[in-house]
């Protein structure tokens, strides 16, 4: 097969853009595996080149803000914050897809509109509520807010998915005497596993990557989440001297979790992203 000249040129352009986009990641990676003295004049100078994992060890075992604890904390928050809205959202989405009631379209529109809301616009009242409930420095506050925050898009996404399922199967089950809940749990949910996987991947990533809500609700040193710890690990004081080695290593440790999920479950991630925003 003859490869045309335009194909070659297009490939060169595409690869250069991709390389350009990856350069900053490469820089942080280099900063994390090399002593600071070596990257002072730029990480792209490879003479001398003494890679080591010291910065990773330092970030992982930081005396006051160990990242190991942060990763564990993030998992403690992220797992329930994914599972709760998954089931509530699937149930609500099923309701919107299969049952008609008086205010259905208005209710649905409101939920879709909620997706556009910035977290900043509700965080002050939420903070007051959590203070009154004495849930500041308690993961319950984060789990509740993350679950509520994830619900609109999960409902929208699941409703769209359920609408594409053949209704005949459910009708047949109903004729056989199955109740609404039996139909949902025994027939609809098993058919929806791919969509549920998309929800899990996206919701988990959003909760994991969240910094703002954690910053507002969690202050206790030992309870800080992974995203909150990066800064403390790499900096002395709020805008103080930066330890680029530890900072980069901490960034990479926190980033690696969503990246692994993305690499393993890319198909579901893309489906969720597209279904969430396009199919509407």
């Amino acid at each position: 097969m003859k490869i045309s000249k335009t194909t070659i040129i297009l490939h060169i352009i595409a690869w250069s853009v991709a390389f350009l986009w990856l350069l900053p990641f490469l820089g942080v990676f280099m900063a994390s595996i090399r002593p600071f003295g070596e990257i002072l004049r730029g990480w792209w100078i490879f003479d001398p080149f003494n890679p080591s994992l010291n910065s990773f060890v330092k970030a992982w075992n930081d005396p006051t803000y160990p990242l190991s604890r942060g990763i564990l904390n993030s998992f403690i928050v992220a797992v329930p914050s994914t599972i709760i809205p998954l089931f509530v959202g699937a149930l609500a989405g099923y309701g919107f897809a299969r049952f008609s009631f008086r205010i259905r379209s208005y209710l649905f529109m409101t939920i879709v509109l909620l997706m556009a809301l910035p977290q900043q616009s509700v965080v002050v009242p939420l903070f007051k509520i959590m203070v009154n409930l004495r849930l500041i420095d308690n993961y319950l506050s984060l789990m509740l807010v993350h679950s509520a925050w994830g619900l609109p898009w999960i409902i929208l996404f699941m409703r769209n998915f359920f609408s594409t399922l053949p209704i005949e199967v459910e009708e047949a089950a109903r004729v056989d005497g199955a109740s609404d809940f039996e139909i949902f749990y025994k027939i609809v949910l098993p058919m929806s596993l791919p969509a549920l996987a998309s929800v899990v991947v996206l919701q988990f990533m959003w909760v994991w990557n969240d910094f703002f809500l954690a910053r507002v609700f969690i202050y206790e040193e030992s309870m800080l989440l992974a995203t909150q710890r990066i800064e403390y690990v790499g900096r002395e004081g709020p805008l103080g001297r930066v330890n680029w080695g530890a900072l980069s290593a901490a960034s990479i440790i926190v980033m690696i979790v969503p990246i692994i999920i993305f690499v393993l479950l890319q198909k579901y991630y893309v489906k969720g992203m597209v279904g969430w925003s396009v199919k509407g």
Partner: protein, 179 residues
């Protein structure tokens, strides 16, 4: 896209730091000394560092959406265009671009929403500074509420931010209803 924004902020700060950031080193090499300094420390460049960083972090989203959209365009259209003698540029202008138009509204809306809400990268890379050169609504709101305990001021900013997002979202909602 997958990267936590807080990490994105750190990477962007590193990339724009004097001497060992690749962007600053590049400008230094070109002899433009003003752009060879740490961007996030100077009032004139701090906001631009944030802009480039947010573009860099968000490109993946539009790419995923557009590539999914491209996959839905039937191959027959392109074959027909070829038979009719249309060049690659004309094919893009007359077939690809119009067919992707519904996606433009989604991508534009989502991007504006994302940028209106931007907080993490500002927090980590510039803290809105120097002075208030690179502050944004979301960051200012957090500062008012949780640093200065001025909850009234924070509520004003939050309301402003909410109205802005609603203005941006309405075209998309209308488009979704029409379908």
């Amino acid at each position: 896209m997958v990267t936590p924004l807080i990490v994105g902020g750190i990477i962007l700060q590193y990339t724009f730091t004097e001497n060992f950031g690749i962007v600053t080193a590049f400008f230094d090499m070109l002899g433009i000394k003003e752009l060879g300094r740490t961007w996030t420390d100077l009032p004139n460049t701090a906001l631009f560092a944030l802009i480039f960083g947010s573009v860099w972090l968000w490109t993946g989203f539009s790419m995923i959406i557009y590539s999914a959209g491209l996959a839905t365009i039937p191959k027959e259209y392109y074959e027909a265009a070829k038979i009719d003698g249309a060049g690659p540029f004309k094919t893009f202008l007359r077939i690809t671009f119009p067919l992707l138009r519904p996606l433009n509204i989604v991508v534009i809306t989502m991007t504006i929403l994302y940028d209106l809400k931007i907080f993490d990268i500002v927090f980590v890379a510039t803290r809105g500074g120097p002075g208030s050169a690179s502050t944004v609504l979301a960051y200012e709101m957090w500062l008012q509420a949780f640093q200065f305990s001025r909850f009234n001021g924070a509520a004003v900013i939050a309301t402003l931010l909410t109205s802005l997002t609603l203005v941006v979202t309405i075209p998309m909602i209308r488009y979704m209803v029409r379908r």
